[in-house]
């Protein structure tokens, strides 16, 4: 019984530390969002510079969401990575193909 309680305490502590990382993730995402809105709202940056920067900020936010909030950083997510990156690969092809349509 005492062993159970002890391991339970250990898991609780582990969950608590995990939650701290999640809060840092959340704060980072909020900051990135605010930066993205300031870039556009202030109108100080040229279009050529602003668009790639906005896309990079979005990609970093999405990586945080997948790896921390959705736990892809944890063990046992190999199959998950295959499935989501399979989707991402097809998504890139789709957007590339549809964007090429308007260039010509």
């Amino acid at each position: 019984m005492t062993n159970h309680t002890k391991s339970n305490e250990f898991h609780k502590q582990q969950n608590k530390e995990e939650m701290k990382k999640q809060l840092i993730t959340f704060a980072t995402m909020i900051i990135f969002t605010i930066i993205a809105f300031i870039i556009v709202g202030s109108g100080l940056m040229s279009k050529m510079l602003a668009i790639p920067l906005l896309l990079i900020l979005a990609l970093i936010q999405v990586a945080f969401q997948f790896y921390y909030f959705m736990h892809m950083k944890d063990k046992g997510h190999d199959m998950v990575a295959i499935m989501i990156y399979g989707g991402v690969w097809a998504a890139i092809l789709t957007v590339a193909a549809l964007s090429l349509v308007i260039w010509w």
Binding site: I30, Q65, V80, M83
Partner: protein
Amino acid sequence: MAHDHSLNPETMPHHPEKATLEGKNKFLGLWFFLGGETVLFASLFGTYLALKNSTAGGPTSEELFGLELVFLMTMLLLTSSLTSVYAMYHMKNNDFKKMQLWLGITGLLGVAFLACEIYEFYHYIHEYGFTFRSSAFGSAFYTLVGFHGGHVLFGLSWLAAIMIRNAKRGLNLYNAPKFNTFSLYWHFIDVVWVFIFTVVYLMGKVA
């Protein structure tokens, strides 16, 4: 009692959502679904990028969009992502009541987000005459953003269903995977929104 998988806090496994084969299958199945969803939304994004300048003399994205409302909507959805992380934190600590509380807050934030979106569409239609049929830009915009809003609505219905259905059951190995799959789906809705506020609203405002 031996068959309903009800476990007390001392014997609940570390990851109750993946302790059974059914739980593992639900987890993988949802990720497989999300891979497909990624492609679905990519085709809607691609269509939007191809048609966003075809305004047919109607308002352009620059004239139409307001950053304040989009910022508020982004904060609502991002915060609801964090509250669902809190809900899963309490699930892993086997605290059913706190999990339900945080899931409820997640749902309320989702409802607020949806209310903002309905107000936004109403505003575009009545103030600008910008509708699904007024231009190719309009069709592509409402399809993409509306499809995301439809996902939010579906997620809210799903959440209400599992919260009410399991309200008297408490947390066990049978329903823990159900809550976990919902939470993953909800995060994915936020992932799609990150691209919508970047590609549609922010890039539409600088262009």
